[in-house]
Symmetry: C2
Subunit: 712 residues, 2 copies
């Protein structure tokens, strides 16, 4: 059965069955069912395959059965290819027969919307009740190359070699697009699943399986949507510490401008959320199918790079320059060789050679030169990896050079990637390298890009040890009480009153309960009371109007700053009240915090990805810089650190034009508190702390907070 | 001879010779000279090829000559492969023989530095005096596929088919890397030149030739340096209006932090300069050899897109999503089909098909479906181009689909690009399409990227009609006088006095002569005189200390703003003078311009690219935003417009937080004036107008100007 290090998985019935029935196999080749049946037989499935066809005694020389219940003996997996309307009854018959897993190839379900969506849901329910797992509907099929399984239950014209790459895709097309180039790169497949509409089996299920699947060394995902991003966050982070996950997230086309009522929400976006999810989980995000497979070949065939220092070895200066440019773009360092390495290289390279980095051995380099140079480089402590480039010339036999590279690099703990360019035997050189486990590409940039991704992955593993969110200094009991009271208030008022925002008093109390510093404040009913409160707080103060639905106060003249005595406070409150065209409910009087660096932090909820915690340039910089970084809640401390170091405006944090440097630890505490708030209180939809001011004397203080709740 | 529309070029002797001698052909194959001789014979050169070897009567069955002078009859082109030390005498012998062009393959010249650089210079001089053009030294050779030439004077294992792509490369390696993939894309070569050290023939010479070369439709450049960027600017802009130039600029590795003494210079950088040069000239800049060739195949084989609206046609939803994502990344629009087109599509597509964009014909699509759908799309006014995607299934024959695509698209005025993915016949489908003149790639993203570049090129041609710099309102006589006086002053003082900067008076006068507005100013010697001047200017005023070498005044307390009466001016000047530890030479009193948007403009000189004119966010935003755009002088009006629209901080220009919108026309006038200043006065090294303030009432005013001259 499946080669899982610690026992089976519920998907064994689908990916490691002992017997398979294909329901809907017509007599003629060319139909989907007939192609699947043919592939199962041709791939040498290690067990019986039963064709089911009510109108034929045999198909493709194999006895057929009129229905699943007529099949003798047990059936682990049923592959269903009949029209959508017939699938429900067949699934019921499978359940009655004791089938353990089904793959529904048939289209005509949720992808069409409407009724078909409900039918798909019902199908999944029936499978669940019968204890059957289901792949699909609307998929290309599943495949396993395990020697004791050899299952090709797809209708694609594919027959990939066995190997260490597991591949899950939603649409079938990208799967078909992958196999040809994968095998030319020397990549074999362990298991392949086309998930289709994901009514039951999802990417998360496959991650769980492949995490423990010893034949799988690298996991590839071609995703169009995330069913349960929260589960993906936890699971993929765990898996990435054990084996690399490489993903293409397709369908990034912008969903159009969403109505966003806070700055944080306006700065967040679905693609930022997906980017955050990948960054948090160590999943390597690539932009194209080619990059997916090229990166997979480095991670499947070579050791993970221990660092960013690489050496370029070439027999043509121009190729070295191409690779060096790509290294700069991928943030790979090209240190000069150390002195002993230089001496060693000098002992056998011609004087025309360049000993810097790129190491240009010049066009006369023989296979032996390649072997010596690569051995010398791999032995040096100055490099974590090597990039070997070759353009065949009259004096170089590409296959001989490939053999030399293999001799020098086999068994070494550092990754080696190659590019063999040109016409004269270049393809043969690449094939020899790929077959021997050394990724080899047609252009230098491709070798560097793939190595760059592998290096990023190694670096993520080294710097993201934390897997849990730390306890935040949030008084959750008090938070829940404040939110419950506010919810009761909101419930009591009509929907269009615009009061699903917390009042200033509620928001102030919420921040205190979250351990986020606020200016000294008083909430009063009259201008006179405001003046008295200001006397107690101490001058100068800020006065703000309190009114239901009044969110962006500055813009409508509902804030006065720099009030220096009681008379000024009284006059300001009266003047503001006169100007308002909404009902003034009172005033907030605040200690005035002067100077400091204006930042912003908050919470936004993405319809697909859940709560995002964000941080960036705030106050007057908000629109101008439009600079914020996000991670999905709950955050680890590593995530909080990555948010702070992820904004472009590091100049703002490092102490800009005489401002002191911002205390990053305190910012991280604020972000972790927001994460805990969002994660434990799903009814908090948006939080916008803007400006969040970093001051030298008073620390980091939220001068204004807007908090929106989900209507009960 | 060469197929030049309006007569020959001085490079005819090299690329369309009637006879060739190869100097240095040893008896054994494998040496460079022998390989070149072999390639010339094997490619069927249309004239005699004479091997020159003092020690052999014949080589490769052809009679050899002891020296070039022994060759009977005329020699148009001599290819020299002998060691560097022998080349000079051979060049002299060629000159005596009346040879018209030489290609020096031999290495050992400027690439090694030192003496060899001088030897290369001398070689070029000797050729020039003899009226011979020279390619190289240190190169791979030259090639022409013209039917009446058929010249392969390279030592690479290459033999590209004839076609419409001309290719110039500095290093040979990238050239060799290109041919294999080029021919698999159906791209043929018209001429190929490996320029090596470019001692004589440069990329600019080849641009001039290929501009008028009717067989050449697309020009490819693989550049590591620009010998004469100014000439390239003028020439490439002209050529790009006639045929596309696609370039890889290699060697972008940062040159390290340069000592920069002005903000403009600090924001400029060599890669920004190269990017500016490409943007100004319409040269399509690509990042890799693969992208170079894929883009070339679209431009060589297909019409230039008239707009950004494209349609994706696919038989697999997932491929459509991949392509749609890539379209978003390349700024290609995917409008929905118009109603008549929708109706037409509905009439033959199955109900399961998706009629939006991507148009998903679903997996059952036959060759006929492809033909009808593509014809319908190409007939619609809603689209400027089409992207056709195919994954072969059991019911699709890729070659039949390819033939259908060719039938639908042949002769249409809109470009069609294809991706055929997968295993089952995909390669055959691609080959059929490429052979028929329709670019076809292995992955959807590649089709979109190539189409995106072609679309950008079409859009550049449509929006960059201007080829000349407009006359700027600069009084050049007065400018020259001011600069001459300043130069005399600088010459009279020691080099380390820090006075190669204009004095405030000189800078003020220079801006006036350039038609750039400045605040009302007076330059006085004493605090008392400052007070008197301020009375005349009107309050409030700004007072600044004048002292040699005092450039960044704010940082050392040499500026006081907001002075509201004579007493304040007097006191401020005295206080500043007391604090200075340099000799105070006087004071500048300025009208105080309050409010406005802080911008920056200036001139910087790049050692390779010449004068750059820049513009961006200024004042307090300078470091925070680090946002500036550049173009190389002289600017056209289009260039000036592109600079203004090229900065990220468009929010700043559009009227940010209550500021009025910045008058872009006035900014353009300032930039064109700086361009004229830089272009006519090569001794102006740096200009930094920061802040350049855009005000509602007073227009755009340079509040501070720092101008540095080249020491005479």
């Amino acid at each position: 059965m499946a080669d899982l290090r610690d026992g089976g998985s519920s998907l064994d019935a689908i990916l490691a069955p002992r017997s398979v029935a294909v329901v809907g196999v017509s007599r003629e080749r060319g139909s989907i069912g007939a192609e699947i049946f043919h592939n199962l037989i041709a791939s040498g499935f290690q067990g019986p395959v039963y064709p089911v066809n009510p109108n034929a005694d045999w198909v493709q020389s194999v006895k057929a059965y009129a229905s699943i219940s007529d099949v003798p003996g047990t059936v682990d997996l049923a592959v269903i290819t009949t029209p959508a309307a017939t699938v429900r009854d067949i699934v019921d018959a499978c359940a009655a027969k004791g089938v353990k897993g089904v793959v529904v190839i048939s289209a005509g379900f949720a992808e069409g919307g409407g009724d078909a969506r409900a039918q798909q849901h019902e199908l999944a329910e029936r499978c669940r009740r019968a204890g059957m797992r289901m792949v699909g509907p609307n998929c290309l099929g599943v495949l396993s190359t395990a020697a004791d399984v050899r299952l090709n239950a797809t209708f694609g014209p594919i027959n990939p070699p066995a190997g260490s790459v597991a591949f899950a895709t939603q649409s079938g097309g990208p799967g078909l697009a992958a196999f040809d180039y994968a095998s030319s790169l020397g990549l074999g497949i362990s298991e392949f699943v086309s998930m289709g509409n994901k009514a039951d089996v999802s990417g998360n299920d496959l991650l769980e399986r492949w995490r423990r699947h010893s034949a799988t060394r690298v996991i590839l995902l071609y995703l169009e949507s995330f069913g349960n991003p929260r589960r993906f966050l936890e699971l993929a982070r765990e898996v990435s510490h054990e084996k690399p996950i490489i993903a293409v997230k397709a369908g990034r086309t912008s969903t159009g401008a969403r109505a966003a009522s806070s700055h944080t929400a306006a700065l967040a976006g679905s693609d930022k959320a997906a980017a955050a999810l990948f960054a948090q989980t160590g999943v390597i995000r690539v932009e194209s199918m080619r990059e997916l497979l090229e990166t997979a070949s480095v991670l499947a065939l070579q050791p993970i790079p221990a660092g960013r220092r690489t050496a370029i070895i070439t027999n043509a200066g121009g190729l070295g320059i191409m690779a060096a440019d790509a290294c700069e773009a991928h943030n790979l360092a090209l240190p000069k060789p150390d002195e002993p390495t230089m001496d060693a290289l000098r002992s056998f390279l011609p004087t025309a050679a360049s000993l810097g980095n790129p190491i240009d051995m010049v066009a006369s380099a023989s296979a032996e030169t390649y072997e010596k140079t690569l051995s010398t480089v791999l032995a040096s402590d100055a490099f974590d990896s090597a990039i070997v480039l070759l353009v065949p010339t009259a004096v170089t036999d590409p296959v001989a050079v490939a053999q030399a590279i293999v001799r020098a690099a086999t068994g070494m703990p550092k990754p080696v990637v190659c590019a063999v360019v040109g016409v004269h035997g270049a393809a043969e050189g690449r094939t020899h390298l790929c077959d021997a486990g050394f990724p080899a590409f047609a252009f230098p940039e491709e070798a560097v890009t793939a190595l760059g991704h592998a290096t990023d992955y190694g670096s993520w593993r080294a710097t993201h040890a934390e897997r849990q969110s730390p306890a935040a200094a949030v008084n959750q009991d008090r938070v829940r009480r404040i939110l419950a009271d506010a919810t009761a208030r909101i419930r009591a008022t009509p929907e269009d009153a615009g009061n699903d925002w917390l009042t200033p008093q509620e928001a102030h109390a919420l921040l205190e309960a979250c351990g986020i510093a606020t200016p000294r404040s008083a909430f009063v009913a009259t201008a006179e009371a405001a003046a008295t409160a200001a006397d107690e707080i101490g001058y100068p103060v800020v006065a703000k109007v309190i009114a239901t639905g009044l969110i962006h106060k500055t813009e409508v003249g509902a804030v006065r700053v720099g009030l220096r005595d009681a008379a000024a406070v009284r006059a300001a409150c009266r003047a503001m009240a006169d100007r308002m065209d909404v009902k003034v409910e009172g005033f907030q009087v605040q200690e005035m915090v002067e100077g400091g660096t204006e930042l912003l932090a908050g919470i936004s909820r993405d319809p697909s990805f859940g709560a995002l915690v964000g941080f960036g340039a705030g106050g007057t910089y908000t629109e101008l810089l439009a600079d914020a970084a996000f991670r999905i809640a709950p955050l680890t401390r590593d995530d909080a650190r990555d948010i702070v170091s992820g904004i472009r405006s590091q100049a703002l944090l490092n102490g800009f034009r005489g401002h002191p440097a911002v205390d990053r630890d305190t910012v991280m505490r604020v972000l972790l508190a927001l994460s805990a708030l969002a994660d434990d209180n799903q009814n908090v939809l948006e939080v916008d702390l803007n400006p969040l001011v970093a001051t030298a004397r008073k620390g980091i203080i939220a001068l204004d907070a807007r908090v929106r709740l989900r209507r009960p």
